[in-house]
């Protein structure tokens, strides 16, 4: 099935409905390793088509992984029959007309070569030092996404994504360090660099001291900060804020954060490719009439002022909002021009947090989140990592975190530990000093 054939089938079977359709095609490989052994090798090819029929403001959506013509026709009929039975959606907005976009490529995964190269390297490092145990996950995937609608919209893109993560522990399981990297091209050097860096990190864990819970000055890594900001994006819905159902209620247009806080999303950032048009939103807004909408660089926080929240075209028109965004395709927090190591050198006394984990919302009024530190909590004294510290449970709102950032480094592309598995969740964030971070209790976990 290709988009041209899908268009023809739709035109022949749409009856009196407006429609849009998404054709998604993905190839991927995954390698998991644990305790210095590969535990699974997976390759997968998957496609689906999603058809939305719109009849007099009534909507039905149906999707199928069976791309035979017969099945696609059945899917069109199913979406049509759902629309027939549905009620009018009060947020109906006319579909986006006459837009074209195409940056798709013919690239395909060379999975046998890439997998073989990765596995050879893994077996090499597995056998280097038997005192350490190596864990991790590597995935390569290429996704082709096409959208058409009944009013002459056609958009296509190709999203390649290669991610590498590795965790090293000692044989007694009392020390643990983790790093990851991500790229739009397959690059085993990223994996090799992770391993080299992890061996350095591992040295910081040779001395471990216990620290009591409390409110501390911390340094959050880009991954840790990225996870908090990803979670914060779930609170960014304009309608929820207006309905007083979000910690961002009454904050749009107000200066809430220090003026050096600039947070934005940009699908065209050069570091990693993102989807340049709306296919769905992960934060909970219902963009059903906005599918295919072009995405661009848009500010969420500008010079400390909340500039834009996530919204639909319907809601923006109704409320006369100008600066909202359809979704968050990635999150970029502007940093300084200071390299990471120079930044650390200037820190006199703080706790460094490498990763956050198991993050959940506790209080939707304040945006309070809870979670754990993981795989790298270090004491920084006089610009140096001096020893590692026990893990903690934190209770902290990401809004407070942004309010309490006092300095930061340059921004780096990073994968959040908790949200890093999705190709929608790239972040570019600095290392940052956060005052008064609530490490609520000690976790014995390693």
């Amino acid at each position: 099935m290709n988009i041209e054939k899908l268009k023809k089938i739709l035109e022949d079977n749409k009856k009196d409905a407006q429609y849009y359709a998404i054709l998604y095609d993905n190839s991927e490989y995954n390698i998991r390793f644990s305790d210095s052994k590969i535990i699974s090798n997976r390759v997968s090819s998957n496609s689906f088509v999603e058809i939305t029929s719109i009849l007099d403001k009534k909507v039905g959506v149906s999707s199928t992984t069976d791309l035979s013509e017969e099945s696609v026709i059945k899917c069109i009929k199913k979406s049509y029959s759902i629309a027939l039975e549905a009620e009018e959606n009060e947020e109906y907005t006319p579909l986006i007309e006459d837009e074209k976009y195409d940056d798709s490529t013919e690239n395909s995964l060379n999975f046998e070569k890439e997998v073989s190269e990765i596995e050879d390297y893994l077996h090499l490092i597995f056998n280097k030092d038997k005192r350490i145990k190596i864990f991790g996950y590597i995935t390569g995937e290429i996704s082709n996404i096409s959208i058409i609608n009944s009013v002459n919209l056609l958009k296509r893109t190709t999203i390649p994504r290669f991610s590498y993560s590795m965790n090293i522990k000692n044989d007694k399981l009392t020390r643990s360090v983790w790093r990851s990297d991500i790229s739009s091209v397959s690059n085993i050097d990223l994996l090799k660099n992770i391993y080299t860096q992890l061996l350095k990190d591992y040295k910081y864990t040779s001395i471990k001291k216990d620290l009591d819970p409390g409110r501390y000055k911390v340094v959050l890594s880009p991954s840790a900060l990225g996870d908090l900001l990803m979670y914060m994006s779930f609170f960014l819905l304009a309608k929820d804020a207006d309905e007083k159902r979000s910690p961002f209620k009454d904050l749009l247009g107000k200066k809430v954060f220090p003026e050096y806080i600039n947070l934005y999303t940009d699908p065209f950032i050069k570091d990693i490719k993102s989807i340049p048009f709306l296919i769905f939103d992960t934060s909970g807004v219902n963009p059903i009439f906005d599918i295919g909408q072009s995405l661009s660089k848009q500010n969420i926080i500008e010079n400390g002022v909340v500039k834009g929240l996530i919204s639909t075209r319907y809601y923006d028109q109704k409320m006369k909002y100008k600066n909202n965004l359809p979704t968050v395709s990635n999150l970029i927090l502007e940093g300084s021009d200071k390299e990471y190591l120079d930044f650390i050198k200037d820190i006199d006394n703080a706790i460094y947090i490498n990763n956050l984990w198991y993050i959940r919302s506790v209080d939707p009024i304040t945006g309070l989140l809870t979670g754990l530190t993981r795989d790298g909590v270090y004491k920084i004294e006089k610009g140096r990592f001096v020893y590692s510290i026990n893990n903690f449970r934190f209770n902290q709102s990401p809004i407070k975190v942004l309010e309490n950032i006092t300095s930061f480094s340059k921004s780096y592309l990073s994968t959040p530990r908790e949200f890093g598995d999705s190709f929608l969740s790239s972040v570019i964030c600095p290392y940052c000093v956060v005052e008064d971070f609530n490490l609520s209790s000690v976790s014995e976990a390693i």
């Binding site: 644990s34 305790d35 052994k37 590969i38 535990i39 699974s40 090798n41 997976r42 390759v43 997968s44 090819s45 998957n46 496609s47 909507v59 959506v61 149906s62 999707s63 199928t64 992984t65 069976d66 791309l67 035979s68 017969e70 199913k78 979406s79 759902i82 039975e85 549905a86 959606n89 947020e91 997998v115 073989s116 864990f135 996950y137 995935t139 993560s165 522990k169 399981l173 983790w178 309905e243 007083k244 159902r245 219902n286 059903i288 984990w357 506790v362 209080d363 939707p364 009024i365 304040t366 309070l368 754990l372 993981r374 209770n395 407070k400 598995d421 609520s440 209790s441 976790s443 976990a445």
Partner: protein, 486 residues
């Protein structure tokens, strides 16, 4: 195209009976179709109806101790052979891996879950009108400003064949109606209705006692909005199964997964404080605590006759009189640990997913000696907090430190409920918490709760799972005021 199990079986057999199998040590093929229908309302606006049909197959091969896996949404004799070749090519030439499998019985069987009303046989318009009528009933109350409603329905078909000769077809149905209520003045207050996800048909939703619950919910959200904020400290907690299920899930369910114990999830979901050598020895909780794993439990979300490795499922003790008895296994994990058999805990969430060791229904058994009811348990507690409904949850990567909130909290003095409190989270360590369990309610307080979306694995998978519990009493647990935490 319909799920044609006869044709698919022939395709699979043509591979499994071919000379290709001589290249490898073991092979299994799983065909899977998931029909999913989601309906979403915000107040009275029908936001979306989404119908999803996911169908395809996977081939998993074992060669020289290494797993190779390939899947596709195109089901033909040729695509199955291609997937087999890809799976083999992933592992051919690798050094010897560590995978061995337990020897299990061979089954040729069909098991179709019996439901009264298949959700997919009920007209969508009827479901819409029914949800809308409930939303109307909720929004009549001035204390309820907003109600978000959803209805998720799943019909799952699986055909499993392996090179040992097993040939199993199974069908399962599950449903989850969910209603979240909001009161926004003077500040945001949320309350969930007590509907839960179940391994049942549409009859669960249709017969649910909304007319009894809605007026109470309207009173409760008002009372919750006016409730006083909890004072931090240590309290006795009487925990309803509607809250305790999630604590069981996180602190017992996941920590007794043997693949976590053996560090399979160390890079992602995490490991466990439990150990293989701790079976029969590790004191997990007080002697009141008896926990079973059971994939045969009626209406359980993880209930099924055979798991995704063709192993017949069973009920087994996980914790007996407070001591760790067993861990959850699949064939690989059981074999690595020197066990003779898997206890049937393999699950894959779609045709394209690598089967993992996943949780059975993990439940706390009720008090067998006396049928203690809510009033009895309140009297035993005397002073403390009574918690109902789930809320926020979080636990560390080895399942020690956890923090949970809830839906409703009552202050209890001298065995009587005196009023609601709010802004509460309880925080503890798994073994400390279960050792502090001083009384377990009787059978009449037992309830089966659960979730559709337990996450694990890379790439990430979700699994449905139920947890039963009676009302239970814990002493001296740390309670936080969440407003003070920010």
């Amino acid at each position: 195209m319909p799920f044609d199990k006869f044709t698919y079986r022939n395709y699979a057999k043509s591979l499994l009976e071919s000379s290709n199998l001589k290249k490898i040590d073991f092979c299994e093929i799983r065909f899977q179709e998931d029909l999913i229908e989601n309906i979403y309302f915000k107040n009275l606006n029908l936001e979306n109806i989404y119908n999803l049909e996911s169908k395809g197959f996977s081939v998993r091969v074992l060669l020289n101790g290494n797993w190779g896996f390939s899947s596709s949404n195109i089901i033909t004799k040729v695509s199955i052979l291609e997937a087999f070749s890809k799976a083999v090519n992933m592992v051919v030439g690798l050094p010897k891996g560590r995978v061995t499998l337990t020897t299990e019985d061979i089954y040729k069987d069909e098991d179709i879950q019996s439901v009264i009303i298949n959700p997919f046989d009920t007209p969508i318009s009827e479901k819409i009108q029914y949800i809308k009528s409930i939303q109307n009933d909720l929004l009549k109350y001035k204390n309820i400003d907003f109600s978000d409603a959803s209805l998720v329905q799943v019909f799952e078909k699986k055909l499993y064949l392996n090179s040992s000769g097993s040939d199993i077809y199974q069908e399962r149905t599950r449903i989850y109606p969910h209603f979240m209520l909001y009161k926004t003045i003077p500040e945001l207050t949320t309350l969930k209705l007590n509907t839960r996800p179940v391994g049942e048909g549409y009859e669960y939703f249709k017969n649910y006692p909304f007319q009894e619950e809605i007026p109470k919910a309207a009173e409760n959200i008002y009372e919750k909005s006016k409730a006083k904020s909890v004072k931090e400290g240590k309290y006795n907690l009487l925990i309803d199964p509607s809250n305790l299920w999630l604590t069981i899930h996180e602190s017992i369910g996941h920590s007794t997964e043997m693949d976590r114990v053996l560090l399979y999830e160390a890079n992602y979901a995490g490991s466990s404080f439990a150990t293989v050598s701790g079976m029969g020895d590790l004191v997990y909780g007080s002697d009141k605590v008896n926990i079973v794993g059971d994939r045969n439990q009626k209406n359980g979300l993880a209930s099924i006759k055979y798991d995704d490795e063709g192993v017949k499922t069973t009920q087994f003790d996980i914790i007996k009189n407070g001591v760790l008895e067993n861990l959850q296994t699949n064939r690989e994990i059981a074999s690595i640990s020197g066990m003779n058999h898997s206890n049937g805990c393999s699950f894959a969430d779609s045709y394209s997913s690598f089967p993992l060791q996943r949780m059975p229904n993990v439940s706390l058994l009720p008090n067998e000696s006396k049928d203690l009811k809510l009033g009895d348990m309140l009297n035993i507690m005397n002073d403390g907090i009574y918690i109902l409904g789930d809320g926020s949850w979080s636990i560390d990567m080895q399942r020690y430190n956890f923090q949970f909130t809830g839906n409703i909290f009552y202050e209890v003095k001298s065995g009587k409920i005196i009023g609601m409190i709010k802004d509460l989270a309880y925080q503890s360590n798994t073994q400390d918490f279960w050792k502090s369990c001083i009384e377990i309610g009787g059978k009449s307080t037992y309830s089966l709760e659960g979730a559709f979306n337990c996450g694990k694995g890379q790439p990430s998978q979700v699994a449905p799972v139920s947890h039963g519990a009676p009302i239970s009493l814990f002493e001296n647990i740390k309670v936080l005021n969440t407003k003070n935490e920010n």
